[in-house]
Amino acid sequence: MSALKHPQILLASDLADGEVLFLGAEGWERDHRRARVARDKEEAAVLEGVGKAEIAKNRVVDVYLADVDVGADGAPTPLHYREKMRLKGPSVRPDLGKQAKGAA
């Protein structure tokens, strides 16, 4: 197994509404806490492969891996502020985006 510098999750945008999605154990999730975490390069490659297949099925667009930190509860949190922002929604409109639904 080839080690990753950081664990990773797969993000995408829903084709129909553009909302941020996370690849989970049973498909796309809208809550990042249900994202499947890759802990080595092989697992990351599997996630990417699923992502490519999902692009081909026209379910999602803009698929990419992001580095995360995994908390004691097993929930991943992206390391970069850009993806942290995507988890929630606009920082200037807490009434909009995922944060408004209580997902982040």
């Binding site: 084709l15 553009g18 390391l79 920082s91 995922k98």
Partner: protein, 573 residues
């Protein structure tokens, strides 16, 4: 309610805006139908994203951080009350109850669903609006002075020229796939409110010695990664040559503009690399060699278009309103609003009113659907049903009787639209930044909010005077930071948001690109740094001097030195 219901009467119907003819209307309807089919094919899977992307961009639809974004064109910033209401209705029905007015005089919806976008475009088409050429490598929405037709210093209303160019450039077959986007701005006044010096092509309406109206043509300006002030291509271009000459400009750019590197694909790079003389020679050669018959000037057509922009039926009024004078004294807050947000009008007894979309601590350029409706109502009650969107992300009511200003102010105040800060330090231009934009490297809106709150005292703002702060969340410079008297650029530095400050930018005829003050600072430090800069300016300015005048007189180094002393070792500033 009957057809004779007096409540339906609208005495102030818009009379100074372009109206679609059958060709215009059919063209837009066909584009909507075409896009509806493309969306259907995308959702059913017969178009891939790579195939679909150029189609959606041709219709102003982007994919951003949290959702899709639809950019709606507001040609030369002119809107009718009916159009503004439709924008509000769309915000409620298909988005989340608000819209964002941009520096390109457009409106952006931040949350549309892909499947709804054809319906949105259809709703726009019903009121003669669209999203065509608000994206993509084509000639973008033509912008113009937001005081068009009412500015006292105007030679000619630039909107006729802008509309003339819109019709020429819309779906132009030769220029639909340029090396990159191309932006044209037009002004007709002695003072530039359209930032023509920092557009790919800037047109300044002027007269020659014989008194004929024509254009000074400026080329190669632009902000972004590599900012340049444009250079004069022609001191005077007769109106009869306008379309043919711009055709020559576009052909030279289309032929020689770099396609190997998208960051170097703008005409400003061509002008910079080849020099203005070589570019001018190529354009003039093309202009001489081309078949100009196709683009020959039809004065009848220009006059037909110009007739849409004739003045509304103003009343004959005294130059100054006694009623206004008394109300200003009786209501100091109103008096401040008039002092700051009302500008002189070319017609006696009238004023141009800037409605600030920059409430203290608010999001620059955002308007709720309810505010849009209030603005529509305000334009109908007090301004012939016409509105303008400024590149400074504000809304202009261009024809308000001085006698009506107090009632207008009360209406605006009730909707949170009466902030008396037009042109002052809290009237900040800001791009959406990383709160929405997929390209951004840092947030810009929270920085604007923090500065606005720091300078929340409007009387202090008036003492400081006109001072433009402009903020961009990445080097693409949608917030025009390069031409801010104080510019702020959000970048990423070691995984953190970092803000680079520039001083001395100027978007007018005396255009200049701001100079970097020093290393970037954190978001938390920005308000302090801005306050130090402003305090230093106040200490150094001479009577009547603007910030940019003081900065030019005493030099950038003085500002840099004093701020270096303010920091512990200068490294943070």
């Amino acid at each position: 309610m009957t057809a004779h219901d007096p409540s339906l009467a609208r005495p102030n119907t818009p009379v100074t805006t372009y109206r679609y003819d059958e060709f215009d209307a059919a063209f837009v309807r066909e584009r909507v139908a075409e896009f509806r089919e493309q969306v259907r094919r995308r959702l059913e899977g017969s178009l891939t994203e790579d195939e679909f992307r150029p189609f959606r961009l041709m219709n102003g639809l982007y994919l951003q951080l949290h959702a899709y974004m639809l950019r709606v064109a507001i040609p030369y910033g002119t809107l009718t009350a009916r159009q503004m209401r439709r924008l509000a209705d769309i915000a409620d029905k298909y988005d989340r109850g608000y819209g964002h007015f941009t520096t390109r005089q457009n409106l952006q919806y931040n949350w549309p669903k892909l499947i709804d976008t054809p319906d949105i475009l259809e709703a726009l088409a019903e009121v003669e609006m669209h999203a065509i050429q608000t994206s993509g490598n084509c000639i973008r929405n033509v912008t113009a002075d937001h005081f068009s037709g009412v500015a006292p210093d105007e030679i000619e209303d630039p909107r006729a020229t802008a509309e003339f160019l819109r019709q020429w450039s819309s779906a132009h077959p030769e220029f639909s796939f340029l090396p990159r986007k191309f932006k044209i701005a037009v002004t007709g006044s002695e003072h530039d409110r359209a930032a023509i010096m920092v557009h790919d092509v800037g047109l300044r309406i002027m007269t020659n010695a014989a008194g004929d109206v024509g254009y000074q043509v400026v080329v190669g300006g632009g902000l972004g990664r590599t900012p340049f002030v444009g250079k004069v291509l022609r001191d005077y271009l007769p109106r009869a040559d306008l379309l043919a000459y711009l055709e020559a400009v576009m052909r030279v750019y289309n032929r020689f503009g770099r396609r190997d590197n998208k960051y170097k694909a703008r005409i400003k790079i061509l002008v910079h690399e080849k020099g203005i003389e070589e570019v001018r020679a190529a354009i003039e050669a093309e202009f001489v060699a081309m078949d100009r018959g196709v683009f020959s000037y039809d004065p009848t057509e220009f006059e037909r278009i110009a007739a849409f922009f004739t003045p509304p039926p103003y009343e004959a009024l005294p130059a100054e309103s006694a009623k206004l004078r008394a109300e200003r004294v009786a209501h100091p807050a109103f008096g401040n609003f008039v002092e700051v947000n009302a500008a002189p009008h070319r017609v006696p007894g009238y004023a141009i009113v800037t409605v600030s979309l920059k409430p203290i601590g608010g999001i620059p350029g955002d308007a709720t659907s309810q505010q849009m409706r209030v603005l529509a109502e305000a334009s109908e009650r007090f301004g012939f049903g016409e509105l303008r969107i400024s590149h400074e992300q504000n809304v202009i009511l261009p024809h308000v009787k001085q006698d009506d200003l107090f009632d207008l102010w009360k209406l605006l105040d009730g909707a949170g639209l009466a902030t008396a800060n037009a042109g002052l330090v809290s009237d900040i231009i800001s791009c959406p930044g990383l709160d929405y934009c997929a390209l951004a490297t840092a947030r810009s809106i929270p920085i604007a909010q923090a500065i606005s709150k720091r300078f929340s005292d409007l009387s202090r703002q008036r003492r400081i005077g006109k001072l433009g702060i402009k903020i961009s969340g990445c080097i693409n410079a949608c917030g025009h930071h390069h031409v801010g008297a104080i510019g702020i650029l959000g970048l990423e530095k070691k995984g953190q948001e970092s803000y680079q400050i520039t001083l001395g930018g100027d978007p007018t005829f005396s255009a200049s690109i701001g100079e970097i003050l020093g290393p970037g600072v954190t978001a938390e430090q920005v308000p302090d740094v801005i306050e130090h800069i402003v305090d230093f300016y106040l200490a150094e300015r001479q009577e009547g001097e603007t910030f940019i005048e003081t900065w030019r007189r005493i030099g950038h180094a003085r500002f840099k030195d004093v701020l270096r002393r303010e920091g512990e070792d200068g490294a943070d500033i």
